[in-house]
Symmetry: C2
Subunit: 263 residues, 2 copies
């Protein structure tokens, strides 16, 4: 762990719930090994308080940036003063950097981390038919990165039709002819199905989709990091489907965080 | 250092400047040794932003308390929902605990830490004539603790006559006949002279008082922790006077912090 002193740069990870987050446990040892005088701490912040907390933290001179997770990724983009194209396209941000003039710059690394995590285990998504379940902050970022990585068809699913249609429209403009959307996941011929909903964080959550709808050999991925094997992945494994857990998505973002924050 | 994860309780130390603070370097290793899942991080906050930042941090569910240092100690007491008698008497607080209902409870440990630090090196202040220079947050807390410890006479000095008189009046009611005050420190027959101003934090600061005004054998104490030997202490040492540095005041507060925060 980093030595913390009065000169330490502070970064905070905002989410709700927060106990499941893994970024502090991954990033802080990297900072310590590099001898970087910075620390990442978790902060549980309710949605109604997010903007107020960020504005308060914006007045802390040695707080140089934020990571954000469920359910704040859309709100993080909304309050940023500028954002990358991929963050705007995703409609979500998972990192905010405070500039010297006090403004916030946003980017999202979830999608890039997810795709790099797949590639690292030999599962390049290029030319595949992919179903992304959950059109929230992480799901939209994962969808953008999968399209950038060359998937043949991206099928979005979300129980909220308005949110789903908003994302479908935005992505269809940028990636014409490759984006479909439906409230119920279209799994029958999918090569890859991704859970990007929060379902699985809590014991007793229903499964985000039924793995019985997938063809043999489909890869089932989850972006939830804790538990390491969600009920969805356990069910997929029991039925003989290959699985991909949530941790690689984060592990492949650590370098991007360091670059983004200038650490 | 503590392992930081999503379950870690966060405590923040607010001050301006912040780079000189020593509490994170002292407290975090204690937490790590005890296996306590908590961390103390520094936050530099300007006076104009203090209240806004505290209100923002008050919305962070896993932030359980604050330590405050120069220049926020009076403001910390002012925004607390309740405070100990000694904090009210001192007119300052250096610790705020967030209660489960979201309110803040205040206490000050500076004075108690300072006196315990003196006693630990065989310098009990009982029956001594003491001059405390600086009637701000730390100075007032040190004055209260010295009076509680039985000093014969407490002489307050401060360049701000209003602040000085306010503190003198308050202390005179609680400790009748033992408190004097003057803009210029009355050093000629003092047994102990304490710098409780911020002078000495920065290279080139003027001395808070002239050690040449003290009788032989007077103990010169500083509450500044960094540098470990301030210009005042160096000058006193050169003139053969015994000295007492700032760090013991903090070191003797660590146990109190742990108790106060229920760690």
């Amino acid at each position: 762990m980093p030595e913390i002193s009065g000169t330490t740069r502070v970064y905070a990870l905002l989410g709700d719930p927060i106990t499941q987050v893994r970024a502090p446990g991954l990033l802080n040892p990297v900072l310590a090994r590099r001898g970087t005088d910075a620390v990442l701490i978790p902060m549980r912040v309710a949605p109604a308080d997010f903007e107020r907390v960020v504005h308060g933290l914006g007045q802390v001179a040695n707080l140089h940036g934020l990571l954000v997770t469920v359910p704040h990724k859309a709100a993080a983009l909304a309050l940023a003063d500028r954002a990358t194209d991929r963050a705007r396209l995703a409609g979500s941000a998972n990192a905010l950097r405070r500039e010297p003039d006090g403004t916030w710059s946003a980017d999202t690394f979830d999608g890039d981390g997810f795709v790099r995590g797949l590639i690292a285990v030999g599962q390049h998504p290029r030319d595949r038919r992919v179903c992304v379940v959950g059109a929230g902050g992480a799901g939209s970022a994962v969808a953008v990165a999968l399209l950038d990585a060359g998937v043949a068809e991206l099928r979005l699913a979300d129980t909220n039709p308005d949110r789903l249609e908003t994302l479908r429209e935005r992505l269809s403009v940028a990636y014409p002819g490759r984006v479909a959307a439906a409230v119920r996941p279209q799994l029958a011929d999918a090569d890859l199905a991704v859970n990007a909903t929060p379902l699985g964080l809590h014991p007793g959550d229903p499964l985000p989709f039924a793995v019985t709808g997938l063809p043999a050999g489909s890869l089932v991925a989850d972006i939830i990091m804790s538990p390491a094997e969600t009920a969805l992945l356990r069910e997929a494994r029991r039925r003989g489907l290959p699985t991909h857990p949530g941790e690689p998505m984060l592990a492949h973002q650590i370098d991007s965080y360091l670059t983004f924050f200038g650490l």
